[in-house]
Symmetry: C2
Subunit: 163 residues, 2 copies
DNA sequence: CTGAGTCGGTTCTGAAATCGAACTTAATTT
DNA sequence: AAATTAAGTTCGATTTCAGAACCGACTCAG
C-alpha cells in the first residue's frame, strides 16, 4: 500500500496517517506546538535533511495542517504556522508525549513538565468521554459501523462473525 | 537521524516515535485494539507485506508493547496481545482516529462510531487535565524543563531566549 | 499414505525513499 | 568585495520497502 492509497481507506486512522503517519512529520508538529516557525529553525532543532523537511512542510501545507505566512517581501520570506486543523492535532501530540513520559523516561525522570494555566497545576493529560466526562478505557468502548463505512475490514473482529 | 538514535533523545515524543513512529506499526496497533491477534489476520486486514509485518511485530514485542502467547504446541503457534504498556497507547490511537473523523471524513460521514458502555452514549474523546478536568488547549499549557532534561533543544522557543 | 491446506514466518530482487553534502538565489551586513 | 542569512533544490550513495515465492511443521480429507 502506498501513502496516497491510505487516504482512501474507510478508516479514520488510516486517513489521518496519510497526513501525519511519518516520524519526521510528527517531530515537525511537536516543534510547531513549541513555537517553531521557520525552515532553518526546524532544520537546526530536528537534524532532518533539508530535502525531507521541504517535502514534509509542503505536504502539511497542502493538507491544511500548516499555512505559509509571509513576514517580509524582499527577499520573500515566510513562516509556517498551525491552522485550526493543525491545532486540533494537539491531543495526538500530547498523548504521544505522555506515553513517552510514562513508559520511556529513564531514571532521571521526564524531560519536560506541563502546567495547566487555568488551574495552575502540573498535570497529566487524560482522555475522557465527551458525554459523561469519565476517563476512557478500551474495554468500555464499543465500536459500531458509521454512516461513512464502505466495507467491514476495519470493524472489530467480534462484529464480523457473520462473514 | 536513525531510529535507534531517536530513542536517546531528551524528548518523550522522539522516544515514543522510536517505538510507534511508523505507519504500519500504528495500523497494527489499531487492529490490536479491534481484537486482531494472529499473524495472518493482520496480514489479511492490513495488506502489508509479510516481511514488514514480521519485523514490526518483533519490534513491538521487544519494546514490551505486545506479548506473544502460545495457543497450541504442535506445531507451535501463538498470538500477539497488547501488554499493559500497549493498552496505555489507547489515547494515542483514539486521538488519531478522532482527528480523522473530524477532518478527513467525506460527505458520507465517519466510518465508525464509538459508544461508551458505562454511560451508554455515542461520544467523542476529549483530552482533559488530570487536576481540574477541563479540556486542554495548547495556548493554556506551559511547557517547563523536567528532571530528565539533558539539553534544551526540545523546550519551547520562548523558554530559550537566554541562548 | 498422499496431497492440499494452515500458520507463521524467511528469502530474494527491483523500486522507492532517505541521507549527507554541495549548490542556488536574492538580499543584507561588514 | 566578501560573508552571512533564509529558504530552498539537486545529486550520488545508502537504506528501506514492496511483491512474490518459498519453507517447515503439522492437520485433515480421501
Amino acid at each position: 500500500m502506498k501513502w496516497d492509497e491510505l487516504a482512501e481507506e474507510s478508516c479514520s486512522m488510516a486517513r489521518t496517517l496519510s497526513v501525519i503517519g511519518d516520524r519526521w512529520t510528527l517531530l515537525i508538529l511537536r516543534d510547531c506546538f513549541l513555537g517553531v516557525r521557520r525552515f532553518d529553525a526546524f532544520q537546526d532543532r530536528l537534524g532532518v535533511t533539508r530535502g525531507i523537511l521541504s517535502d514534509r512542510l509542503k505536504q502539511l501545507t497542502e493538507a491544511g495542517v500548516l499555512k505559509k505566512i509571509a513576514y517580509q517581501d524582499r527577499p520573500p520570506r515566510h513562516e509556517y504556522k498551525l491552522t485550526a486543523k493543525g491545532l486540533d492535532l494537539y491531543p495526538v501530540v500530547l498523548s504521544i508525549v505522555h506515553w513517552g513520559d510514562r513508559h520511556m523516561a529513564g531514571d532521571a525522570g521526564r524531560p519536560v513538565l506541563h502546567r495547566h494555566q487555568s488551574c495552575g497545576h502540573l498535570f497529566d493529560p487524560v482522555l475522557s468521554c465527551s458525554e459523561c466526562g469519565d476517563p476512557l478505557r478500551p474495554q468500555e468502548v464499543d465500536v459500531l459501523p458509521g454512516p461513512g463505512r464502505t466495507d467491514d475490514r476495519h470493524l472489530p473482529v467480534t462484529a464480523r462473525r457473520s462473514g
